[in-house]
């Protein structure tokens, strides 16, 4: 899978397909928004505020998947030292942090009218914040460390950070928490029409995340090629000045 990302045919195909996929994803996102705002039934207790759930939950699920991609690529990098795996790990973490940020911001906006407070140091909320901080640290490490060992250190941090993902996900099973119970596989229940809208929004955000990841992957790959060219330029300059 990681080696496949270097395939020239894949890059050529994606170059042609990207505008089409972009338009289809935009249509899907608009359709998902329409479903969330108009088609989904209004929840009896919370009213329209509950519709935040259609952005909050898919953002969390997408973030978890991206952080698991980061974990898988980091393990692969630790074993093989392939730079493609390092790029995939970086992309997974960066886009994952963006989706986790959306999750962390929309949560308090929902909590204020429903709980009467913006934030509480509840296990789910606190562990999600800690998870976010771990991956922000990962991105800071990648951004500001100039050591040749940075990808290795980042991969080790990613493996440890990934241990937090299942802890966050299952925290509502393990601890008494104010956070609502999970809608799938847990103690909560959901109207089938709401579940349908939730899954459409998750699909739309997953497609969007894929396109963002692909763009970020191309950007990072190109950036590394430019850095290599700069290094070559700096090697060539002294020779030319000797002549």
């Amino acid at each position: 899978m990681i080696q496949w990302l270097n395939d020239a045919k894949l890059h050529d195909s994606m170059k042609k397909l990207f505008p089409i996929l972009g338009v289809l994803t935009a249509i899907l996102l608009i359709y998902a928004l329409y479903q969330a705002l108009v088609v989904a039934p209004t929840e009896q207790t919370m009213g329209d505020v509950q519709r935040i759930f259609y952005y909050h939950v898919p953002s969390a699920w997408t973030a978890f998947i991206l952080l698991l991609v980061n974990f898988g690529a980091s393990v692969f990098y630790l074993v093989t030292r392939r730079s493609t795996a390092d790029i995939v790990a970086l992309v997974g973490a960066e886009v994952g942090v963006v989706f986790l940020t959306v999750n962390l911001v929309t949560g308090p906006i929902w909590a204020r009218p429903v709980w009467g407070i913006w934030w509480t140091w509840d296990m789910r909320l606190t562990s999600t914040l800690v998870l976010w901080l771990i991956y922000v640290s990962y991105l800071f490490l990648r951004r500001f460390s100039s050591s040749g060992e940075t990808p290795l250190l980042a991969a080790a941090l990613a493996v440890l950070g990934a241990l937090c993902v299942p802890f966050v996900y299952f925290s509502i099973w393990f601890f008494r928490t104010q956070h609502p119970q999970p809608v799938l596989g847990g103690g909560g229940s959901i109207d089938p029409r709401m579940l349908h809208v939730l899954l459409i929004n998750w699909l739309a955000f997953s497609c969007f995340a894929f396109l963002v990841c692909w763009s970020r992957y191309r950007l990072e790959k190109l950036q590394r090629e430019v850095d290599a060219a700069h290094a070559m330029e700096s090697l060539l300059e002294p020779r030319e000045s000797v002549r």
């Binding site: 009213g47 963006v98 970020r216 950007l219 090629e225 060219a229």
Partner: protein, 55 residues
């Protein structure tokens, strides 16, 4: 659906975050394009793999 301010805020903030991030990607692509043009001008870009990379 009524115009709930919290709902509006949550959906707006979501798209502000995503669009801001997309903006950073586009800005970095533009900067790289300029760097590649400079490198190709100096003759280094064509000697590396980057010369075959299409934007």
């Amino acid at each position: 659906m009524s115009g709930n301010p919290y709902l509006l805020a949550a959906y707006s903030v979501t798209w502000i975050i995503h669009i801001t991030y997309l903006g950073t990607i586009v800005r970095r692509f533009s900067r790289l394009k300029r760097e590649i043009a400079d490198l190709k001008g100096s003759g280094v870009g064509s000697k590396s793999d980057m010369g075959s990379y299409r934007m």
